[in-house]
Symmetry: C2
Subunit: 193 residues, 2 copies
């Protein structure tokens, strides 16, 4: 485990909720680092998700197939958590994969071990609760955007909120993330420029 990678993760955690040095140490002991090459999967479709990931470097996405079409559900950049929550929290198999969009380094934490820490360190459970709350709020906001904004509004919002997405991620992935086809996204891009 490279120290600067781990520190990036610990800083991310501290910004959400400060925990004791002791707890940080025990969390650190659970981490391993995983390097995934561009376009390779970190996790495959069909597995039950039992691991929590954090992107130290690079870009990743959660994706699935809807009638042979590759749909991107979520993008994770440096300093983002990436969790297939619908599998981790239910114990059901995930029909989603985690894929590296560029060469990416992840910190991996076995969920069962992290959950084990909750018994001893109440504060770790609190930290994790806050992480889940944040992800939940992000998802609610995305739902609102998909529910009643036009595709063009959604694209403009994305440019504004995450310009790095449009700069660094293939448009084909962005299209399905926005809930439209690539052809439609091309048209929108042509119309607004």
């Amino acid at each position: 485990m490279m120290m600067e990678h781990l520190n990036k993760f610990l800083n991310y955690l501290s910004d959400i909720y400060a925990i004791s040095t002791e707890a940080k140490k025990e969390i650190s002991d659970l981490t391993t680092i995983v390097h995934i090459k561009k376009n390779n999967n970190l996790q495959s479709i069909g597995q039950t998700c039992r691991t929590i990931y954090f992107v130290v470097e690079g870009i990743a996405r959660i994706n699935y197939f809807k009638e042979d079409k590759d749909v991107t559900e979520y993008f994770a950049f440096e300093n983002d958590m990436i969790i297939r929550a619908e599998s981790l929290f239910t114990g059901k198999q995930s029909h989603k994969a985690i894929q590296a969009i560029s060469d990416t380094s992840f910190i991996a934490i076995p969920a069962a071990l992290l959950f084990g820490l909750f018994e001893k360190h109440h504060e770790v459970e609190r930290l994790f609760r806050k992480i889940v709350e944040r992800s939940y709020v992000d998802t609610i906001n995305r739902l609102e955007s998909l529910q009643f904004h036009t595709a063009e509004e959604r694209y403009q919002d994305l440019i504004k909120k995450s310009p790095e997405v449009v700069r660094e991620i293939p448009l084909k992935y962005i299209a399905s993330y926005l809930g439209i086809t690539q052809v439609s996204l091309s048209r929108i891009r042509a119309a607004i420029s």
Copy 2:
């Protein structure tokens, strides 16, 4: 507080995560019951949400206005929690309201007091974490449905998963919940019958 109402709520909690009698007692002490008449608001747009609700009886929804159009974000039936998470968890004002669709009885819990219990009763925080996790998973699943299913698929799914929605809720609310206009929903209904 009517006893059977409180028991309904305590049973709901037990099904998610079993907690001690002591903790149950302390949660119970935080609850009040609120009756809201059909079409009236329990919470209005513009407030910061500081209360957690549970529907004991009746039907409620979370709604907001997008360019003068009334959009339903969420339906809550008997035995559902109803929380404006994007405000409660961020401290920001909510641009969403909670409205009773029929005469509805809610259990209300001041969030600050509940969060206060977390200090003394680790198990209460765990219970609440699990509630948030469930809501998060539900939202992820709805996101997936909005992202890449047709309006007709979304309507059919809703009938299958929640037939009571279509039976008991005005179609104008269902339309915006599905992300479409009422005219479009009428067409879909005509097409499939």
